[in-house]
């Protein structure tokens, strides 16, 4: 079936199978940041924005996304690099496989709630699994990023 999705701001039309999943659609269009970590709708690695909401692209039919906007990390390079630097500064991750999904959901959190508390951070990111770390480095990285953002905004 023919579908058209606005992927990272560009209209993409393709012929897809009725059971094609959004994760495979975006990967076949060059968005390799989107990873398959579990296939049981649990790990958060395949997070993309469908319209403006973070969703698990492994659980969405490409057909269902027809006519909608899909954003992956490839479409948020500047924002992702700015925030990702703070995670790297903490040496938070080892293998980095979970990083794109984690960054996507963290950016979704900051859009909904620009200055979340520690509890709010943990609650919002609970669906992003990392099997190398204990999440402490990521938490420190987020807090360092928020402190930097606050001081930058205060200076402006």
């Amino acid at each position: 079936m023919q579908i058209t999705i606005t992927l990272n701001g560009k209209k993409v039309s393709a012929d897809v199978a009725p059971d094609a999943l959004l994760i495979d659609f975006v990967r076949s269009h060059g968005c390799y940041s989107v990873k398959r970590g579990c296939e049981t709708s649990n790990c958060g690695l395949c997070t993309v924005f469908l319209d403006e909401k973070p969703v698990l692209s492994c659980s969405v039919l490409a057909a269902r996304a027809d006519g909608h906007r899909v954003t992956t990390l490839e479409g948020l390079q500047e924002e992702a690099a700015e925030f990702g630097g703070f995670i790297a500064d903490q040496g938070a991750e080892q293998c980095g496989f979970c990083n794109p999904g984690f960054i996507m959901n963290a950016l979704a959190l900051f859009r909904e709630n620009p200055y979340p508390s520690e509890e709010e951070i943990k609650e919002y990111l609970a669906g992003n699994l990392c099997r190398c770390s204990g999440y402490e480095g990521q938490l420190r990285g987020i807090q360092a990023f928020l402190a930097w953002k606050k001081s930058k905004e205060a200076a402006e």
Binding site: M1, A17, P18, D19, L21, E39, T40, S41, N42, G44, T47, L50, K53, P54, V55, L56, C58, S59, V60, L61, A63, R64, N105, A108, L109, E123, Y124, L125, A126, G127, N128
Partner: protein, 259 residues
């Protein structure tokens, strides 16, 4: 894995219902569970074009479209105000925001899973379901029915003079619950719903007796629920542990609702 031969965004409920009469066709909810089943679907029926993705609130109650996501329930201010945050509490531990942006109320209620936080909560809210052909059916009755081929259109929650409390016990955050407990305090007494026994949620209606202190009421309700409830063992907990938890959660609910 699930395969789909055809995908159809239904243009009316009648069309969805017609398609759903065929045995190998399936209505899609959030597709969280469905896609993990070993299933060859003929036509996947998508209700997402039918405007069933809103929560409408009136003085009498809430009308919740089948395609409303668990995340919408979590963030709905009217539901939060009416239930004292119980609805938010019932869904916020389910996996993650990304999953709750997909999982639908209709999918959860239709599936009637034993572990369902959503079923536990809505039973305590005295909800009904609106079926396309079957009309309005109390959720307690619907939950006991076998799966059929009607279309679940909406979930209806009446506004009662009641207060609510939701609790769950999980071995770790975002896991399935070991036990769920929703409580409602109404003019007639208490409703307790205990789910993840691990079987389907059970409803208990109990009345306080005027002479009792709240603490004695809590103890008596806990003992009555523990005596009536059927629990079983699985890898998350034993039947005995669940029975014990049921008593603890009932007591905590009464303390909170009497405070």
């Amino acid at each position: 894995m699930m395969t789909i031969r055809e995908y159809k965004r239904a243009e009316s409920l009648e069309e969805a219902w017609q398609l759903n009469q065929k045995k190998n066709n399936r209505v899609l909810g959030g597709m969280i569970w469905l896609k993990m089943e070993k299933l060859n679907v003929g036509t996947a029926i998508d209700l997402s074009g039918l405007g069933l993705d809103t929560v409408e609130e009136t003085d009498e109650g809430f009308s919740i479209g089948a395609m409303v996501t668990l995340r919408q329930l979590e963030l709905h201010e009217g539901l939060a105000a009416y239930t004292g945050g119980a609805v938010r509490e019932s869904v916020r531990h389910i996996v993650g925001v990304q999953l709750r942006n997909l999982a639908t109320v209709g999918g959860s209620i239709y599936s009637r899973f034993g572990f369902s936080d959503v079923l536990t909560m809505f039973l305590a809210l005295n909800a009904s379901v609106e079926l396309y052909k079957g009309g309005i059916v109390p959720l307690a009755e619907y939950a006991a029915r076998p799966y059929d081929r009607d279309i679940l259109v909406r979930v209806l929650v009446p506004k009662e003079a009641a207060s609510f409390c939701y609790q769950s016990v999980r071995n770790s955050q975002t896991d399935f619950p070991v036990l769920t407990c929703a409580a409602a305090k109404t003019a007639e007494g208490y409703r307790f719903v205990i789910g993840a026994r691990p079987g389907k949620a059970m409803l208990f209606a109990l009345k306080p007796n005027g002479a009792e202190t709240p603490e004695l009421t809590a103890d008596r309700f806990a003992a009555e629920v523990r005596a009536q409830i059927k629990t079983e063992s699985n890898l998350r907990g034993s039947a005995e542990y669940r029975n014990h938890l049921a008593g603890v959660l009932v007591k905590r609910a009464v303390r909170r609702l009497e405070a």
